[in-house]
Amino acid sequence: MTANYETREHDVLIIGAGGAGLRASLEALAQGASVGVVCKSLLGKAHTVMAEGGIAAAMANVDTADNWKTHFRDTMRGGKLLNNWRMAQLHAQESPDRVRELEQWGALFDRTETGDILQRAFGGHTFKRLCHVGDRTGLEMIRTLQDRGVQQGIDVYMECTVTRLLTDGGRVAGAFAYWRESGRLIVFKAKSIVIATGGIGKAWRVTSNSWEYTGDGMALAYEAGAELMDMEFVQFHPTGMVWPPGVQGILVTEAVRGEGGILRNKLGERFMEKYDPKRMELSTRDVVARSIYTEVKEGRGTEHGGAYLDISQKPAEYVKKKLPSMYHQFKELADVDITKGPMEVGPTCHYVMGGIRVGAETAESTVPGLFAAGEAAAGLHGANRLGGNSLSDLLVFGRRAGLAAAQHAKQVSAPSIDTAQIEQSERELLAPFSNTGVESPYAVHRDLQEVMQNLVGIFRAEEDLKKALVELGKLKARAAKAGVEGSRLFNPGWHLSYDLKSMLTISEAVTHSALARKESRGAHSRIDFPNLDSLWEKKQNIIVRENGAMQRRENPVEEMPAELKQVLAEDKS
């Protein structure tokens, strides 16, 4: 095969232009590296733009007693102690500076009476901790980062999808990608690569995630030999829209509960009294999601199979000011005026705590030169993420990844690119064009979503998980035959056939991991093993590719140092 592709070279290549990728690019640039950022959508449309509620950082502007130790403790407890304690510590310590930095770059947050950044309450956070701008915090964040990036001179390759990482011996050498618009191919040469590709929610039917969330980054890293960790921990957000059918799964921000929203079942009972009388609606997401699910399952659900969430006891003007996009979302999509009556809500697949295993300080994966940050990386959130801890994660570990990637690039020689890898990637990418008509990638995707929704959902059982693995096997065989129509010019069916591959790999990793973890912890609930098992606190659940096949193994967890144990124990609650 001849060179059917253009070639670009950067010291640091960043895959993903959400908060994590953009923050990483700014840091790598500040270190003097040449930086390229690749993303599947247009710049500014990544998931980060949708984040509503806020950024968690112990700035103590509202509750002056807050400090990093409390934030650390909340994060560890929310994650059921499975979190990488060092990441949780760095995150709690560095978030306030990262938020201030964002402000210095032009982000404008809501204010306190004294003119400081205002903070709101959120589930699992002891204090009012979420810095926010109404309910469009993510928009403010991504615009600030993207405009700064563009001004500082990052090269952005938008609507460009990476389908394979290129390696040189054991280390990273570059990436193979195609332009979504033209279907033309492009090869990136890079000394360091940062994966900041976000999550995997599109493998479930009811989800708050967009088409981009197909787990590409994790699949890319896995194929390149990196370890994935704790993949069974998938967060179902308790409040997604349930009606009408077209909007099912769209997120209803936790800020509604943060601002005082109350959950009731169809009998009018405030059911959280039963499940978590202390924290009520502001319990952690795993608990609230299971509570709603249980209410519905036991026949106390609303007309369309959810729970009522009511904020109408607050003054209408307050609701419109604090939750403007929720107000419009319900009014326009569901004909509900949330200042007058309750919303109907139910669990929706939202976030993955698991991901690429990385070192806490450098965000480097087990493959030299390959880094990961944001939702694509594992560790910070343990078994359950607290709301608001993702946006801060993006800033803290995005920066660390960019820094370490730039430093790594300074130290290593230029890798060499293996054309055989490029040729193979090209063959695989173009294969669907010769399969015309055998199977539709859309049909396989729909069936995959049913399998994951029904068999690998909020409550899990051995029998279901085993069945899921069998079904995934069949789906993989069907996906391999999936054909596409039309040309390479902006062809979503063709795009999906690659995304589908990532989803299948990641779904298999989630299912294997869930089957192995014979306990219930955080977001992972096994009806056949309903209790915590302390042995599982001491090990990481690892998925890795060996001899071409998916293998699972367990790594021991490093013991928490005494001073952090002390911090954890300090609070009596």
Partner: protein, 243 residues
Amino acid sequence: MSEATLRVFRGDSNSGQTVDYPVPVAPGMVVLDALHYVQGHLVPDLAVRWNCKAGKCGSCSAEVNGRPRLTCKTRMDDLPQDQPITVLPMKSFPRIKDLVTDVSWNYRVNRKIPAFEPRPGTNWKISQLDVDRVQEFRKCIECFLCQNVCHVLREHDMKEQFAGPRFFVRVAGLDMHPLDGRNRAALLKNELGLGLCNITKCCTEVCPEEIHITDNAIIPLKERVVDEFYDPLTMLFRKIRGK
């Protein structure tokens, strides 16, 4: 379940025509759902952009029954169903394929606008009132619908001289940031072509974020340019300072 006919533009930069597709209509369904139905069941290569499906990302812009809209926020039951629902790509941008257009020009314009720069010595205290005042401009989701309808771009294609309403909104969001220390008046006048806007307000009418683009962003910016360049006192100062 009722059925509707979706009349969608199919084609590329050279040629194309509309094609009718039957779609089942479920309660609460939006036009983007209907497009996805067509994509998933009838035409797998139908090109459409979308991300959030909740009016937050500004990806899914198109012209529905002649009106520029976000397809994810346009309910099927708000449109007459006894006639076909036409969905066309935004007209002011070069077509790529089907409903997808080349909006890269917008990103090039954005590069001309210098980002926020804090005034020296600021203590970072800001009052909520000041935040509320600029909030409106910072809500922009970059759907480019305002760019699509503005006649300076749509009819006159003055993309070299004129930045368009989206970027006046952006400048307003920066200029009215309580701590911003830059002066963008010359940029507005000379490079962004603010003077070419003749206040027709078409942009304001289509903005899904309900930003009062003309009244709250463009007119105050025009006043600022006038103050800066035509106000005799300022002109005198400039002479004295030698700028």
